[in-house]
């Protein structure tokens, strides 16, 4: 089978209400790409975390903005882009704190980026100041 690229995109208002639809979208694309049920769970989670961060941090919970999720796959891998037009940030400045420390400090957050990195093969932020913020993630297909 030739390596044919397939492209999907979803645009939704920046409300946590839409995270469930975002996960359904990612799961539907992931099934077609050929991921296992376990890997689909990982994909859904990584994209959910990325979009939840956009809604909470980039848009400061303003539900009237837009979140875009683009997905492309070929025989080798699935590429995901999460795009927003909210506040940029410097991911290099975010310290990853141990879960044990988060618990001692009674923190309820700080796990999202760790989960994305755990479950995706590549995670890159790409900010275009004043225009958009883009998070690109790649998950490779296991050849079996």
């Amino acid at each position: 089978m030739a390596s044919m690229e397939r492209t999907f995109a979803l645009h939704v208002p920046s409300s946590t209400e839409n995270l469930a639809l975002i996960r359904e979208f990612v799961a539907a694309v992931g099934v077609q790409a050929g991921f296992s049920p376990k890997e689909l769970g990982q994909l859904e989670l990584a994209v959910d975390e990325a979009c939840a961060n956009v809604i909470e941090h980039a848009y400061g919970c303003d539900g009237t903005k837009e979140v875009t999720v683009r997905a492309m796959f070929d025989d080798d891998s699935l590429h995901i882009e999460v795009i927003d037009t909210g506040k940029a940030f410097d991911p290099g400045m975010i310290q990853q704190v141990e879960v044990g420390t988060l618990v001692s400090d009674r923190k309820s957050g700080g796990l999202g980026m760790r989960l994305m990195k755990s479950f995706m093969d590549e995670v890159h932020y790409h900010m275009v100041p004043g225009e958009k913020n883009e998070l690109r993630m790649v998950k490779r297909l296991q050849k079996g």
Partner: protein, 122 residues
């Protein structure tokens, strides 16, 4: 779709059981947070979170466990977790939750765990 997440409360042998149904994400986590807070405020500190019908969890849901457990343990209680499906368990696992929380097979195991180790030592 109409009810994507629900919590059922019950009591067994002086333990407070919160059975979760549906998905626990940034949208539904506040509901779970309120439920745990209500147990804490009512002094029902021996909590079991039963997850056999939990279809999904994201960091927003995990954050509820993280932010409450210290306070509950200091007051002599605990949060024990049971019934995780493989899909949900892999999220707890990858973050190292099994070191920090008692995570057991099912409700009877969670009840036994309270008899053995009322408060997890970490």
């Amino acid at each position: 779709m109409a009810n994507p997440f629900a919590i059922t409360r019950s009591n067994e042998e002086g333990l407070s059981i919160l059975a979760l149904d549906g998905y626990l994400d940034a949208h539904t986590a506040p509901q779970f947070e309120k439920a745990v807070e209500a147990e804490f405020n009512a002094g029902r500190l021996k909590i079991i979170v039963e997850c056999s019908h939990l279809t999904y969890i994201s960091s927003a849901g995990l954050g509820v466990f993280m932010s409450f457990v210290e306070e509950i343990r200091e007051a002599g209680g605990d949060i024990k977790i049971c019934g995780l499906t493989p899909k949900v368990l892999q999220v707890f696992d990858i973050l190292g939750f099994p070191v920090l929380f008692d995570i057991v097979e099912d409700l009877p195991a969670a009840i036994r765990k309270y008899a053995e180790t009322p408060v997890k030592e970490i």
